[in-house]
């Protein structure tokens, strides 16, 4: 028997929630939903093209997780297990969406940029550049540069080798750099 992994109070609390949910406690499962839905949304949103699809993927993912909960081993990391399920749900939705409709940035989204003109131009150029980027490369760059996942984690989420995730990230960055190279603010 290997040494027991020392769990943080949060991890202990999560394990208790998992065990209770496995015993049929829906309130405990609601606690797991509350803990993980934001990160699950971020994973799904990196893969699908729209907010609505990301929301659907999150709901589908939790539904699959609920059905498969008895097969989950509590010594595993629940988040990693769940995010893989959500990523699979998002990949399914993305596959179903063969027609890529316009993925316009909603007007209500806030922007961290100070200059509205630069922000608008960057957003418009970025939108066009992302449209020409492969779906997997787009997911990889968002998961890595925005969500902070490591290559191996991205590989596990998307079902691709770690080297492929690394390569996709490199190509995605190069593509965006080319597309956004002559922005007004750089001149």
């Amino acid at each position: 028997m290997g040494p027991e992994r020392v769990l943080s109070p949060e991890q202990l609390e999560e394990r208790e929630l998992v065990l209770a949910a496995q015993a049929g406690d829906s309130t405990a499962f609601a606690g797991l939903v509350r803990r993980h839905q934001r990160r699950a949304y971020a994973v799904a949103r990196a893969i699908v093209l729209s907010h609505d699809d990301a929301e659907d993927a999150v709901q589908e993912g939790f539904l699959h997780a609920f059905r498969a909960l008895e097969r989950f081993r509590p010594e595993q990391a629940f988040g990693a297990w769940l995010h893989r399920i959500v990523a699979n749900a998002a990949l399914d939705i993305a596959r179903r969406r063969k027609v890529r409709d316009a993925d316009e940035l909603p007007e209500t989204l806030s922007s961290p940029h100070k200059d509205p003109a630069e922000s608008d131009e960057l957003r418009a150029r970025l939108s066009r550049a992302l449209d020409t980027l492969g779906e997997r490369q787009r997911a990889v760059i968002v998961l890595h540069d925005v969500e902070g996942y490591k290559h191996a984690e991205i590989g596990a989420l998307l079902g691709i080798p770690e080297g492929t995730a690394r390569s996709d990230l490199h190509h995605a960055r190069a593509h965006l750099r080319r597309q956004l190279s002559n922005l007004r603010s750089e001149s």
Partner: protein, 149 residues
């Protein structure tokens, strides 16, 4: 709808080689909705879907009248088939007997109708009374002793 980053301590946006401006624009584009109301609503939606799914599972577990067929083995199927054949035979016999009875009754009615058509009943009152008027006076005696001259 306002948005926020899903930052839980990961090194988001600080990856070496990443353009900070592009990363910031990507973060704005792919940011999750902010505000507890949205997440409370999403949690409720998820739990409602789970409740519906759980109801479906219970419904699937409840045995239906046809669910027993799946458990029948070959020998059971032969028994069921022989019982069904017997029932079908009895039903066919009953139908045959009932058909025979119906056709016999129809034949009898047809024969009676044919006789009544060939020999119509005398419904004319004049004829009846006229016939009686010409009876001989000794008719009762002839009726009682028909061989008398």
């Amino acid at each position: 709808m306002t948005v926020t980053r899903n930052d839980d301590g990961r090194s988001a946006g600080r990856s070496p080689g990443a353009d900070p401006r592009v990363t910031a624009a990507l973060a704005a584009r792919y940011a999750a909705p902010a505000g507890d109301r949205y997440w409370d609503g999403l949690e409720q939606s998820i739990m409602q879907r789970l409740a519906v799914a759980a109801t479906g599972v219970v419904r699937e577990l409840r045995p239906s009248w046809w669910s027993g067929f799946a458990e029948l083995r070959g020998r059971d199927w032969r028994a069921v088939a022989s019982v069904a054949a017997t029932i079908a035979l009895v039903a066919a016999g009953a139908a045959f007997v009932r058909g025979q009875a119906a056709s016999a009754k129809a034949r009898e009615l047809a024969a009676r109708a044919a006789v009544e058509t060939a020999m119509p009943l005398p419904i004319d009152g004049t004829t009846l009374t006229g016939g009686r008027r010409h009876l001989p006076a000794d008719a009762p005696e002839r009726y009682l002793n028909p061989l008398d001259p």
